[in-house]
Symmetry: C2
């Protein structure tokens, strides 16, 4: 059965069993920015003890922040200023595909898939820089936390934590505790 049909058949059965109303304002007032990795699906949220209605989730390849005016910052601005989020968790993970990206192999696969060479060459500044890969997942988290901390669109009162997740064991490790960075006199949540 094609995947789309399989998913629809599952959904028809599933909705008969669940029907709960939840508000769109996250109860724990937190926004998680993490990776699209499949090992985090149905795993990171329970590992954090977060359930439906608790948190907003932003996900992309490698929890990378290439463009300071791009979709990640846009989403954070909405989460903070329109939905009342008061903390940001940047969560990278070990064994991240973006840390092992072979750009030349990727270029070859793109060409084999019929992607026109001129479309690849048009990427700014280059395919490799456009992809925004990194060597060190821990360093990437620390870098993203710093970029957000320095971004004028993110209020200074919002703690930005940096964490590393193990996609096999589910262990979470703190790289940057955002609380001490709060202005003196600000109350911890």
């Amino acid at each position: 059965m094609p995947l789309l049909h399989e998913v629809l058949e599952h959904n028809a059965h599933w909705v008969q069993e669940r029907n709960r109303a939840v508000t769109k304002v996250p109860q724990k007032k937190v926004i998680i920015f993490t990776c699209m990795d499949t090992r985090l699906v149905d795993f990171l949220e329970p590992a954090l003890g977060l359930r439906r209605g608790d948190a907003q989730m932003i996900k992309n390849a490698g929890n990378t922040l290439v463009d300071a005016g791009g979709g990640v910052v846009r989403s954070l601005v909405v989460a903070i200023h329109a939905l009342g989020c008061e903390e940001i968790f940047v969560i990278g993970h070990r064994d991240c595909g973006m840390a092992q990206l072979d750009k030349e192999a990727l270029r070859i696969k793109m060409l084999e898939s019929g992607v026109p060479e001129e479309a690849i060459n048009a990427l700014h500044p280059t395919l490799g820089e456009w992809l925004g890969g990194f060597h060190d997942p821990l360093g990437n988290v620390q870098h993203v936390v710093q970029l957000l901390r320095d971004n004028p669109l993110i209020p200074k009162r919002v703690p930005v934590h940096g964490l590393m997740f193990d996609p096999s064991s589910g262990v979470l490790q703190v790289l940057v505790d955002g609380y001490p960075a709060l202005p003196a006199g600000a109350a911890q949540p």
Copy 2:
């Protein structure tokens, strides 16, 4: 207890109970692009019958695609060409916050939070256009499907489906079935 500490305490207990190895290549070879909304957390995946290891997930505010060369397309390129994904599901949802965004109220909240007015005025082209809100969540899904369908970095063999999710009932509805758009002669999955 501060949220960061609460999350860490939960995690320490949780990891003792689970430790499963899963490959980083998604078994169902699908990438989901959906919204950061908190009502979808711990709800959309089970509604689709997707479990850990099945799919990649990209999430932002309103599953919007403002920048054709931005993080969403970067993530899709990695998912398809480096991780073997063969289908894209764009999933919007009813009652989306991005469809009801009051830009003037948001500007006032940003100023009240200490965001410098010049940082807001520096957004291109304007705060409203930068945010990329929309009036019609269904129309947004159809627009994003078309943008991806027309993007030369996404191979023509990759079906791009458009779906709408009800964040209360969990009902899924097809807006665009990507299969018939496959080139004549291509096998359905």
